[in-house]
């Protein structure tokens, strides 16, 4: 108790320095806490499933093209085969993620829900607890399971089990159960889930053969092991399973543990590592800063220690005293940081696009880590002053002109260099990541994504696509439109069955296929390299440049390609249209002429500034043709933004954290300059008496800071250059690491540093020399 009291009195005495130190530590800690929350959230992805250690995923990959292509899913026949052939496998499940929204009508309400399709065993494998009802009978096709929110949107608070809903305006389903809402950090996400057998209705299939095929890699396949040790056997023996039934297939299987899916398969672990490192650096910098500021008054403190020794304190007493002093200040900082972190959490969530909940903070693991961080910080922050101060000779400290600062130069410089370094590294990374994001945003993607509206062709809109197109073409503000089976950013249909004259029989590249009507070039503003686009008079296919490069001919018009037993005449070659992933270079693509059954989107080029009006008139036309479905439309540029969403996210995160370190840096610099000014009061006084100018005195105070900043950049620049180069290697389309990025980052950090210290230096330099010299 006594020590707490004394610490607070001390705090009151040397307010500015201690408060700066605490503020720096709080800022650092808040940053570390947020990184910790973020890392915690990332690493807890999918961990809420009780069977997490026993769930595995099987996916297919293709070899035969220029490089291996990975699929998220595998053929639907794999799932029953696994269950039958491996006694270690308790259960398996095929799952089609909620790629699209479907209309669910009930109680006179129209609801558009993210709908997944799955085997009934989904609920055996994963922890998706039911509020009402259950998963239903595995043999019943016409049923649906809703999430709590989705159910509330249709039925309100009542129990909907047994009620009917109408799916896609074509089929009646019974509500079998309602599950609790799925946590945000889950790979499996949907509003509603239907038995897989309903997929057939969607694709116009009457039998269930499509669920027994060894082709079609679109089925995400999960398995539940009876014990985690069974995984090894599956992982080693599954590779050539498809070949047992289809010997000529070039698709192979691979299994991984579901718990590794998010972090390792999707490579989120690298960001987790990067940010953990940042957290350590920031904590280190903030602690150094804290030590520096609490020892700023070490002359006085050394005297006190000397005195205490003379009245009978042992070295142990002194060390204990200093540690408890630091422990109390640290505790104050930690409590404050915790409070600030909680208050700022909604803002942080908003900035990084996550939903971290308060409950995440109060579980045992984060609290244990916080306590550990507290102990480490206290130990680090206390050790230096404790051993430094208690090491002085008593007689030295008690003379009136004692200065304890001689040996602190190296310490203070290394502190400054460290904080400068972390700031420059983070700021440079922010700039590079922003530049890359901007590059992805602005790069030539083969078409003009601006002012493109798309309409989903639901219900009768599909069969009446042509008249819809004509109708919309007549309305004001629309310059052209095209019917397609894909959106330019996501094309899912592909296969390795394409052949051409002179092709090596073992070479089987994966080729994406899609179809449009003849107005695609005009609407998307895509560019033809060779020949023409197809039209009613000019039947044939168009290939993209990537495919043309793979085939390697000089010209293509008039030549033929064959696929799955059919021959197609090439009428033109278009420039690559980027799709699916910006990290990879554009893959081969074939565009064919669309038929009525496969029409899924109408993409419309708007030419007016009154987007609202245009959309209103489009909606009106759609409603007139198909009143049963609510009009669902979107913007292509927004869809495109999803392709680089993770980079945008990373930019936000690194930006936030570099902001934090720069605050720590400023607080640290402020403390250091105050301390230097105080320590040099006498020197400044003497120099002024001898006629030195104020500007020169200011330079005297600022120069060492600038030197540390420049020294820090000598380490920071190569380190960042290396790290960012490696990061950029992940992208096929990448920006350059220009020299100006580094210069700019260093200048910004040094500029902020200078601004921070200028006031203090000026104050020190303009002080009356008489006052300074009287100081003893």
């Amino acid at each position: 108790m006594k020590t707490i009291l004394l610490t607070f009195r001390k705090l009151k005495k040397s307010k500015t320095a201690t408060l700066l130190g605490i503020a720096g530590l709080v800022t650092g800690l808040v940053c570390v806490l947020y990184i910790f929350f973020w890392v915690n959230d990332e690493t807890r992805y999918d961990r809420f499933h009780k069977n997490i250690d026993r769930i595995f995923v099987v996916h297919a990959y293709l070899e035969g093209g220029t490089k291996t292509v990975n699929f998220n899913g595998c053929p639907p026949a794999v799932s029953p085969a696994l269950k039958a052939e491996y006694p270690e496998v308790e259960s398996t499940c095929r799952y089609i993620p909620a790629y699209s929204k479907f209309l669910i009508t009930a109680e006179g309400k129209k609801n558009v829900l993210n709908t997944a399709f799955s085997d009934n065993s989904l609920f055996d494998i994963f922890t998706l607890p039911f509020i009402y009802g259950n998963q239903g009978d595995p043999n019943v096709k016409n049923q649906i399971v809703l999430t709590k929110t989705a159910s509330a949107g249709i039925f309100g608070d009542m129990n909907p089990v047994g009620k009917m809903v109408r799916f896609n305006n074509s089929q009646d389903l019974v509500v079998a159960g309602v599950i609790d809402d799925i946590p945000h950090n889950s790979t499996i996400q949907f509003d509603a889930v239907l038995p897989l057998e309903n997929l057939g209705v969607l694709y116009g299939q009457t039998n269930n053969n499509y669920l027994n095929t060894w082709y079609n890699n679109s089925f995400t396949t999960f398995g539940l092991l009876s014990s985690p040790s069974g995984f090894e056997k599956i992982a080693t023996s599954i590779t050539r399973r498809i070949q047992k039934d289809i010997p000529e297939s070039t698709n192979y299987l691979r299994a991984y543990l579901f718990k590794n899916g998010y972090l390792y398969e999707q490579k989120h672990i690298s960001n987790v590592r990067i940010f953990s490192l940042i957290a350590l650096l920031v904590l280190f910098a903030a602690t150094l800063n804290f030590i520096n500021l609490i020892t700023a008054k070490s002359t006085k403190q050394a005297k006190e220690t000397g005195l205490r020794k003379s009245i009978g304190a042992t070295r142990g007493n002194i060390i204990k005293l200093i540690y408890s002093d630091v422990a109390i200040l640290c505790l104050l900082a930690f409590v404050l940081a915790f409070f600030v972190a909680i208050v700022g959490l909604p803002l942080f969530n908003q900035m990084i696009g996550k939903q971290i909940e308060y409950s995440a903070l109060f579980s045992p693991k984060p609290i244990a880590i916080m306590v550990l961080a507290y102990l480490v910080t206290t130990f680090l922050a206390g050790s230096y002053p404790a051993f430094f101060l208690s090491s002085f000779k008593i007689t030295e400290t008690l003379t009136s002109n004692f200065h304890s600062v001689k040996s602190r130069g190296i310490f203070r410089n290394s502190l400054l260099v460290t904080i400068f370094m972390v700031s420059i590294i983070l700021l440079t990374s922010t700039i590079v990541i922003s530049k890359q994001t901007l590059f992805l945003q602005k790069m030539d993607i083969g078409f003009n994504k601006d002012q493109l509206i798309y309409v989903n062709l639901d219900g009768k809109l599909q069969e009446k696509a042509k008249s819809l197109k004509e109708e919309i073409g007549r309305s004001a503000g629309v310059s052209s439109s095209t019917i397609t089976d894909f959106l330019p950013v996501f094309v899912g249909n592909n296969g390795e069955g394409w052949g051409w004259e002179g092709k090596d029989a073992n070479f089987k590249p994966l080729v994406t296929t899609c179809s449009t009507d003849e107005d695609m070039i005009k609407t998307l503003e895509a560019k033809l390299i060779e020949g023409n686009y197809f039209s009613n008079d000019r039947q044939g296919i168009v290939i993209n440049k990537a495919f043309a490069d793979v085939i390697g001919w000089k010209n293509f018009v008039g030549k033929t390609l064959n696929a799955y037993g059919q021959t197609h005449q090439v009428v033109g070659v278009i420039n690559n249209i980027e799709y699916n992933s910006l990290a990879e270079s554009c893959r081969p693509m074939v565009i064919g002429q669309i038929n009525e059954q496969s029409a899924r989107y109408l993409i419309i080029k708007a030419n007016s500034n009154q987007m609202d009006k245009t959309i209103k008139s489009i909606s009106k036309i759609c409603e007139d043709i198909e009143p049963d479905f609510p009009v669902s439309y979107g913007f292509v540029d927004q869809e495109y933004a999803k392709l680089y969403a993770s980079e945008t996210n990373l930019k936000q995160l690194v930006g936030v954290f570099s902001g934090f370190t720069i605050i720590v840096l400023c607080l640290g610099l402020l403390g250091v300059v105050m301390f230097m000014a105080e320590q040099k009061t006498k020197e400044i006084g003497v120099r002024k008496c001898l006629g030195e100018q104020e500007t020169s005195i200011i330079m005297r105070l600022v120069r060492p800071l600038l030197l540390s900043g420049i020294g820090a950049s000598a380490i920071a620049i190569p380190a960042t250059w290396y790290a960012m180069n490696r990061w950029l290697e992940n992208f096929a389309n990448k920006t350059t690491l220009s020299w100006w990025i580094f210069v700019m980052a260093v200048l910004i950090v040094l500029g902020i540093a200078l601004l921070t210290v200028s006031w203090q230096s000026w104050k020190a330099a303009t002080r009356n020399p008489v006052e300074a010299l009287r100081y003893e």
Partner: protein, 230 residues
């Protein structure tokens, strides 16, 4: 009680050895009040620090009660500081964050005295120095003389046999200085051995014996006039 034999204190620099104290012989008996005088840099404070075990001599012998106290272990030294001697400083060296009461109490805490006993002892001393009303004030709220009184109280609370004072009046005006000296004299009359370092001829006279140091050598060691006049 104190026996210094041939004490040297010197610092070696590259080419020469600088002596602060040279062949100092000194014997102090229990109950004495010794004033050490001399110009700046004559080695007065160093001598006092050596006696107070805050500094070690470069050569010579030093014994307290016929027991050598050179090469003592840290723990033994701390024991002497806790139980045998008290210090008073020119700059008072009170702990700024502590009240008068807490400053005086601190040595007792290190000594391991129980809380109730501490209260009684501090209260006694406050009473004796007429500072009861000031016990909750902080040092900077007191005058220099009062601060030094607190310094003395802190030095004697542990009932030391030896009180070492390094220019106890150096920062004080003469009236306050006299008050301090009278206090010291009174303590001496009660049997405490006191050694003080001072610049002030008048205050030196409060001692029963005056030692004059010059360039680290004892030039004079005489009984003071006041003793004669008694």
């Amino acid at each position: 009680m104190i026996h210094l034999n041939n004490i040297d204190k010197y610092y070696d620099s590259k080419f020469q050895r600088t002596f602060v104290l040279k062949a100092v012989n000194l014997e102090v008996k229990e109950g004495e009040f010794v004033s050490i005088m001399g110009p700046s840099g004559s080695g007065k404070s160093t001598l006092l620090n050596i006696i107070g075990l805050l500094d070690a001599p470069s050569a010579g012998e030093y014994s307290l009660y016929d027991k050598s106290v050179l090469d003592l272990k840290e723990k033994a030294k701390v024991d002497y500081h806790r139980n045998f001697m008290g210090f008073i400083f020119q700059a008072y060296h009170l702990i700024e964050e502590m009240t008068v009461y807490e400053n005086i109490e601190t040595p007792l805490i290190y000594k391991g005295v129980k809380s109730r006993d501490r209260q009684a002892m501090v209260a006694d001393l406050l009473d004796r120095f007429n500072m009861v009303a000031k016990k909750d004030l902080f040092p900077q709220q007191l005058s220099g003389g009062q601060q030094q009184l607190v310094g003395i109280a802190r030095a004697i609370i542990g009932k030391p046999k030896l009180l070492l004072a390094d220019e106890p009046t150096g920062n004080l005006q003469s009236v306050q200085g006299e008050m301090i000296m009278e206090t010291l004299q009174q303590l001496n009359n009660e049997g405490m051995t006191i050694i003080q370092v001072t610049h002030n001829e008048k205050f030196a006279e409060y001692g029963k014996r005056i030692i004059r140091l010059e360039d680290g050598i004892i030039r004079k060691d005489v009984a003071s006039k006041i003793v004669f006049s008694i």
